[in-house]
Amino acid sequence: AQSVTQPDIHITVSEGASLELRCNYSYGATPYLFWYVQSPGQGLQLLLKYFSGDTLVQGIKGFEAEFKRSQSSFNLRKPSVHWSDAAEYFCAGGSSGNTPLVFGKGTRLSVIA
């Protein structure tokens, strides 16, 4: 069955430090992969997506993610975290056709001074 796993439930980083949020997928073929962010009281905002081609994708707010087929991973990175990045981050996967997105459980990011 298709699945997306986010191993880390909660991560705390210092402001200005680098960030990497992990996401692993299990799909029969290359999935379409997404990262969404949910700030408190807000909806899900798309940060970036991977469909095919270049394995390093750039997103909004200075985020990037790298698709690694050999590791079945699509980790989200940011070189320098800002306090406003504190939020819940969701990795999601989809496949060809009108199939629904499968979400990971989310990783809550806290940013400390």
């Binding site: 009281g41 629904p100 979400f103």
Partner: protein, 114 residues
Amino acid sequence: EPEVTQTPSHQVTQMGQEVILRCVPISNHLYFYWYRQILGQKVEFLVSFYNNEISEKSEIFDDQFSVERPDGSNFTLKIRSTKLEDSAMYFCASSRFASNTEAFFGQGTRLTVV
């Protein structure tokens, strides 16, 4: 920037009551979805809707649930007789093409069943 809007933002209802959650998708989008997120759990797919009919539904979407696009702009989720376990954040989403392109999500409706 176009966005998906959901109303109300928070609804409290008594067990056994009917609730209707409303969504206004982005105007030129063709595919519509409902997802839910029980507190502390992952976002789960409920149903997708295209061309005025359900295209796919999950096992969660039982006979207590229904969706409708009553006019050209609204997309509703109805829960006929709410249960305590229906308490969750419900997200509406829409996309221009099939779900694997960019899906835009609304801010969610927090449903609390008491």
